[in-house]
Every structure is written in structure tokens, then in C-alpha cells.
């Protein structure tokens, strides 16, 4: 074997699906870019938005889908039912759309308590009412006991994008400000704490909520929104890296401006996790011209779910397509796309 043999037997390529393929990091990104995007290649897909925006007889229709497999099914601040509605509503809102209609496909495991299903369905109903969307079609499948995890929910959604709204990574410009609508990492830590049986003095409550009113508030305020994202899997770190790659710009985050609640920050310190990579389920990341940042923040803060809105960084004039973090000490480092899901450290 020559020294330059690239088939090093110790290097382990993936020949089966790993949990990291769904972790929101680089491994998932690589799967999407190497297998899914080329297979289904078309302009709407390649725009890489949270939802596809389609021209339907001159009207811009946003269309998206999302599957929900969260375990545990109930967590502080929400459950899989409302999450399934908000998740899809939020993807539509981030495409600039007004969410209208959702589908609901249930994959149920044999033996699931009907009372629990009824509770989750009622959660979905209430969430839909809150978002002003109708669940207009659906599907129900049951799998053998042991072949599912109680309930999996898929929702798809459509909404109309009002004329003149054009958002996405390609609209991001040097000089844009980066805003978030509230503190980060709550959902990821809330689920982790229940899943792993971690007891904290102050329980972490998920931020699970719709963001369509926050998005609408920005449009109403008349600011020029360039890009919207909800930082779910992989958190803020993953979302910013995706936007840096797709816009081919350098983003700079100011660590001291990033809002993280005390319970989330403490739990992260304890477990060796970074809140910037923890999932949110009710937050909005906004890109818009820096001079309009104050007006946008004021608009977000007028809503209760936007009370903690903050400007956390900006898009630099030029540079490589990545995200840098300016630390509290004034030093600079990369804020990288994580590899897979974060693992708690040893000591």
C-alpha cells in the first residue's frame, strides 16, 4: 500500500444512516447536498429556503413539509402535536408567506393510548386556531408495536406570499444586521432535560411557538427584510452557516449580544454543550439593512414572543463564506457548522 493510498482502512465512511444524518450539522448537510438535491434538482429546491416558493398562475405559493419524531412527546412548554403545527407554520412564515392550509399525516404505533392521541390531536387543533390555519387533509397509518415510537407526525403546509416579498439567503447583503427574536436554545435543552432525566433548579421551558406574527410585524413596520429563518435543529450556529454558504458572505456574531437565558446557559455549562447549537422552535433570525435594525427590533418587541429580540451581529463587506464570533474578550474565532448532534463531554 502506498503512502498516499486514499482508501485508508481506518477511515470510516458512512455506509448506513447514522443519527448524525439527522442532526442538523455537516453530516446531514452533506447527505442533502450529495444525494437529495441532485436527485430532485429544480430551481425551487435549489433556492434552499425553509419552504419552496412556487409561481402558480402569477401568484407566489409557499409550500413546505416537516416530520416530527420528538421523544418525549410532551416536554415543558409543549408537545409533539403543537410542534407539528408551529414547525410547518414557521417554515412558511420564513418564506415570507401567510400560512393558510396544513396537512396532517399520523404514523401511530400499535398500543398507543387513545387518550394520549386525543390529547395530541387537541393540541394540534388549538395550535392551528392560534395560527389561523386549517388542517384540510391527512392520513393515518398504524405500525406494529416496536416499529415506531408512539406517534410520528408529518405536516405539510401552503401559504401565499404577498407581492413584493422576496426573502432568502441570496437576498442577504453586506452591511445587513442579524437579529434574533428572543433567547436561544430553550427547546433543545427542555427536550434534553426530560429525555435524560436531568433535574435543574429552574426548569427549562421550550420556546415552542409560532413566529408568523413576528414575521408579519416586520412587514407591517415597512422594513426591508432580506432573509428569515427559524433556527431549529443545529440551532443558530447551523442556520448562520447555511446562510453564509448560500450567500457566499462572512457573518460576524457578537457573543455578548446573543441572548441566552440563565437556566439554558447554566445547563449548557454543566453538560459541555454550546447553546448556539441547540434547537429553538419559536424564534426568528432576521437579516435586514443595518439602518433599519432599530425599527425592526421595536416591531418585534411589541409582541410578547418578541420581547427578547436583539441584534446579534452583521454581514461583513467581504471575506470567506463562514461565520466568525467576536467573543466577550474581543477575540475572534470561527462559529463552525457542527458535525452532528452535540455530545455531552466526559469531564
Amino acid at each position: 500500500m502506498s503512502e498516499l493510498n486514499l482508501d485508508c482502512p481506518l477511515q470510516l465512511p458512512f455506509d448506513t444512516i447514522q443519527m448524525a444524518h439527522g442532526g442538523g450539522g455537516r453530516i446531514m448537510h452533506d447527505l442533502i447536498e450529495s444525494m437529495l438535491v441532485p436527485a430532485f434538482s429544480n430551481p425551487a429546491l435549489e433556492a434552499r429556503g425553509d419552504a419552496a416558493v412556487l409561481d402558480l398562475d402569477g401568484r407566489a405559493l409557499a409550500f413546505t413539509t416537516d416530520s416530527f419524531v420528538v421523544s418525549p412527546r410532551s416536554f415543558p412548554g409543549g408537545d409533539i402535536g403543537e410542534l407539528a403545527v408551529y414547525g410547518t407554520v414557521n417554515d412558511l412564515a420564513c418564506a415570507g408567506a401567510r400560512p393558510r392550509f396544513l396537512s396532517c399525516a399520523l404514523i401511530l404505533e400499535e398500543g398507543l393510548a387513545l387518550a394520549e392521541l386525543a390529547h395530541l390531536v387537541d393540541s394540534m387543533r388549538r395550535a392551528a386556531v392560534r395560527c389561523g390555519v386549517s388542517i384540510v387533509t391527512g392520513d393515518t397509518k398504524v405500525v406494529d408495536r416496536g416499529k415506531g415510537d408512539g406517534v410520528y407526525i408529518n405536516t405539510a403546509g401552503i401559504g401565499l406570499v404577498p407581492a413584493g416579498r422576496r426573502v432568502g439567503p441570496k437576498e442577504v447583503r453586506p452591511g445587513d444586521a442579524v437579529l434574533v427574536s428572543g433567547d436561544l436554545g430553550r427547546h433543545g435543552m427542555a427536550v434534553l432535560s426530560v429525555r435524560e432525566g436531568l433535574a435543574f433548579d429552574s426548569p427549562v421551558v421550550s420556546d415552542c411557538a409560532p413566529v408568523h406574527l413576528l414575521a408579519e410585524a416586520l412587514w407591517t413596520a415597512g422594513v426591508e427584510v432580506h432573509c428569515l429563518r427559524d433556527p431549529t435543529r443545529g440551532g443558530l450556529g447551523a442556520v448562520l452557516n447555511e446562510i453564509a454558504l448560500d450567500s457566499r458572505l462572512t457573518l460576524e456574531v457578537l457573543e455578548q449580544e446573543v441572548p441566552v437565558s440563565e437556566p439554558v446557559a447554566s445547563a449548557c455549562e454543566l453538560l459541555g454543550l454550546d447553546p448556539l447549537y441547540l434547537a429553538c422552535e419559536g424564534r426568528l433570525v432576521v437579516f435586514l439593512p443595518e439602518p433599519q435594525a432599530e425599527a425592526a427590533l421595536a416591531a418585534l418587541r411589541r409582541l410578547p414572543e418578541g420581547a427578547g429580540a436583539a441584534c446579534i451581529g452583521h454581514v461583513l463587506e467581504r471575506g470567506p463564506a463562514h461565520v466568525t464570533l467576536r467573543t466577550r474578550l474581543g477575540t475572534e474565532r470561527i462559529l463552525d457548522l457542527p458535525s452532528g448532534a452535540q455530545q455531552p463531554r466526559i469531564c
Binding site: 481506518l10 440563565e262 463552525d336
Partner: protein, 364 residues
Amino acid sequence: MKFLDEYRDGAAVQPLLEALRRRTTRPWTLMEVCGGQTHSILRFGIDQLLPPSIRLIHGPGCPVCVTPVAFIDKALAIAERPGVIFCSFGDMLRVPGSHSDLFRVKSRGGDVRVVYSALDAVQLALREPEREVVFFAVGFETTAPANALAAREALRLGLANFSMLVSQVRVPPALELLLASGAAQVDAFLAAGHVCAVMGTVEYLPIAARYHVPIVVTGFEPVDLLRGILECVVQLEEGRAEVANAYERLVPSGGNPTARALMAGVFQVVDRTWRGLGLIPRSGMALAEAYAQLDAEQRFGVSDLGGTDSPLCRSGEVLLGILDPQNCPAYGTRCTPEHPLGATMVSAEGACAAHYRYRRPRED
């Protein structure tokens, strides 16, 4: 956040930097022993704040990185067995053995679970009497006391279905090796604060004296790190070589006698192979005779299993501070966190992983 913010505060850091600038007259090379310190230094950019003549190099103190391939292979072989629940700290799961890693074993049906403490694995064994529960006990003197407690608890409960795969390591013999080999030119050491919280400082006295090198117990937050660095520089500039404690807020000079007694009762000191470094005399801990029945190597007949490192992986040189991760030819190309050649690229405390995560040069 109490006990953290005040140690990350820019205003608290400034006087220390000012003192460092004032006291430094010559170039000095300091090694931070612990991988947790390496990550803090790169995460907070501490190295960017230092006078240019002070160089920090990374040391061998990453428990995941030094766990030998043979032990990973043993872990994989045990985790593949039907009926076994294999419990591990989370950041061991991606570490490559000869042919696989624990995540891949899990994806093929192995029951691999992340636990936060060895006692969680004992509880699991109690709840699942029909299953064999195995805990992967790795780490330095920091994890050893809690792991020892779990072993003691398992014996007390008479758990026949609990065992431990033990690859514990000790810091001082590795420092001795490093100094004796003369591999890296290190002027002073930042000793690993949390190891000293257990062990105290007494083990370092003969090393500091024999090699005339300052050894300063140092913490992990910016203020703690800078206090350790300043103490090293002051000693070096004054020609002193003493063991000092710059992490008094956590480390009593006597360490934690209760924890040490627990360790001494459960573990015995043995020679241990370190991944990338080779065999280091008296550098490991294994289960003592009285706890031999908990030995997973014996129970599952994997004692003779053993693999070898990738010949392309130069983690040994990285762990000795000879090779900067970014100067390794495989860094970022053939070796990435997704496809690591060695453990230094995957562990949350590995130097290669820290550089990749915080400093990786990017192509434009």
C-alpha cells in the same frame, strides 16, 4: 451566571494582561496539560491576547484521545453482543477503533447508551436484571472517583449483571515522559485544575524539582487561565521552578482525600498504553483484585483484542506538543470530525477538534 461571568469578564482580564506584558521579557513556551484548557483557550481566544513572545502548546490531557485503540475495539466487541447494554460518556461514541465506532455499532442494532455518570449505569443494571450492563470507565483522575463509587455500589448491591471496561489514566507519568523525552521544549506547565482538585499538588513536587520546571495548577475560565499563565511567567522570569496553585477557588492543596481513598480502594496503578504515545509505566488504573469480578474484559473474553492506530494519524506528536494540529498534512483534508483518523479530531477535548472547530482556515 454566578461563578462564571466574573471569570469571563473583559474588565477582570485586563489587569492580568497588563501584568503579563509588564513581566514578560523573553520568549516562553507553556504547555496546557488538559484538553479542557485547550478548548477554553481557543474558544475564548486567550492566545490572541497574550504578549507575542508567550507561546502556548497543547498537552496530552484529553481522556478520549489517549484511550488506546485496543480499548475502543474491546468496547465495540462488547457492545455488539446481544443482551448487552453498553454505557458510555457521550464523546466516546464517535471515536474510531480499528474498523468502526460505537455510533456505527448502535446503528447496526447494538444497545449503546449515553450516560452522564457511572452511577446511572449501575441504576440501569438494577432496573434491567436480565441484561448485561457494561460501563466504559475512561478518563483521568477526574472521573476515577465517581467511577470507583459506581464499582463499590455495584458490589454492595450484589449486581451480577454489571461490569466495567476500565481504561483510567494518570497525569503525572505522562508529564514525566514528556519531560524525560525532551520531545517538546516546554518551559512551564499549566496543570489540569480538575485533576488537582482530586489529587492535590504533592505528585508534582518531585517533577518540578527534577526538571526545574514551574507547574501551576490552572482552571478553565479566561481569568483562571491568565492567572496560571502569569504565575508561570513570573516564576520563569525570576528563575524559579515551583509547584503553585492559581486555581485556589476550586483546588485545595491537599486535593480531595475522600475521593482519593475511594479510588485507592477500587483501582490499582498499572502500566498503560496511551493512544499515540505508547506504553507509559504506572500511568493507568485498573480494577483492584477485590473488584476483579466487575472486569468486563474478563467477563466478555476480550482481553486479547487489540488494534492499531492509523499510520496517517500523528496524534502522538500533537499530544506531546510537537506538532501543531494545523501543520498535520491530514488536518482538514483526510482527517475531519466527520471522518477522523484519530481521537484528537473527534473528542470535545481533542486539540485537532478544537482547531478545526474554532480556527480552521477556510478556502475562500
